[in-house]
């Protein structure tokens, strides 16, 4: 085959490969042009994080405002230390509360931020004081059964 035709075909092939990489990166993956946006880190301590994973979404009013950066066990306070990277364009008051919620019934767990009323904003490295951990279904069922048993015993006591 003539060399220029061959070069043309290889050029088309490489460009096709490159475009499919771009398609995968931007259309399929979550990479956007402002990919490595500036973020600031805030820390929250939870008694139980349930199934929360690193890179899990952080939402406020349902809108994605950041991602979970790191999760580790705090061996002094015996709870989970969650580092949250929030997009620097969003500012939250210092009395913002963080809770771990589940999207849908079977969905993934995410951190929800509810803004408070303070005039000062959270800065890099600050800690969120008001937190609510993940709801553990087993504990909830256990509590329900315990209450039920207690109710029935008080009913019996009243009947006597």
């Amino acid at each position: 085959m003539e060399r220029s035709t061959l070069n043309l075909w290889v050029g088309i092939f490489v460009l096709l490969g490159f475009f499919s990489f771009l398609m995968l990166a931007f259309k399929v993956g979550n990479l956007n042009l402002s990919g490595n946006k500036d973020t600031y880190i805030v820390i929250a301590h939870f008694d139980n994080i349930g199934q929360l994973k690193e890179r899990a979404p952080v939402r406020s009013a349902g809108v994605l405002v950041g991602r979970v950066k790191a999760i580790q066990f705090d061996s002094k306070q015996y709870n989970a230390e969650v580092k949250i990277a929030i997009d620097s364009q969003f500012h939250f008051p210092v009395d913002t509360s963080a809770s771990i919620l589940t999207s849908g019934i079977l969905g993934e767990q995410y951190v929800s931020l509810d803004a408070g009323g303070d005039e000062k904003y959270l800065k890099n490295g600050d800690q969120i004081k008001l937190v609510q951990g993940a709801v553990v279904l087993e504990k909830l069922i256990g509590q329900f059964l315990y209450n039920k048993a207690q109710d029935s015993s008080t009913d019996k006591g009243a009947a006597k």
Binding site: F13, L16, F21, L24, K27, N30, G35
Partner: protein
Amino acid sequence: MVNLVSGIKVVGDRTLKIIERIGAVAAFLFSILLHSKVSFKRFSLTIREVYYAGVQSLIIILVSGLFVGMVLGLQGHETLQRYGSEDSVGVLVALSLVRELGPVVSALLFASRAGSAITAEIGLMKATEQLSAMEMMAVNPMSRVVAPRFWGGVISLPLLALLFSAMGIIGGYLIAVVLIGVDSGSFWSQMQSAVDFEHDIVNGVIKSVVFGVAISAIATFEGYEAPPTAEGVSGATTRTVVSSSLAVLALDLVLTAFMLKGWN
């Protein structure tokens, strides 16, 4: 008792031969890398091989990708609708293609389409004494014949794997959204929230580069070491497809284990 002992001996013998062969391929790969200067200096040699290995494999890769994506769309929708989450069909199609099927299936197709061709070509060049003729003219066949074919394969496979995944996602979209009627917006948005650029797409590309190195090294090695007879070349071609397919599957397991756990 004698039978048992001789049986164990056969197992030992085979194992040693396999290890010896893996060592020989590794030494051959090292020698290719040493002789690679010409492939980059005279890049037209490598471009020619990218054409034969990559461009000519396009049809089989694109068509297979489209059909694999369509089947994933159908199967995924069938299963997910039982749980009322048919919107997640995009996630299923994209993750299975980008992480696994794209790199692995295109590597298997590449081994049978281009790897066998490379082995047959080099083997036949050896059988017709073209390689010896080159040596006589002080042209090193390793840098003139083997290295460009190796690099041609290494460059082509990642591009083919990307095209396979992209075509597969289009196939999944055609079936799930156009044919079945899953909501187009949730198809893409769920996919985008689940597929991570670094953890899924880049790792898939890394896999296909490793597969490209393995297949190209095995194909050129088998061709170069093929006995110079018709039977020898045909045997070498068969061995290329068998060993490179097995190598791809074994490497896939190791790479997946590392990627899921993280490299450190």
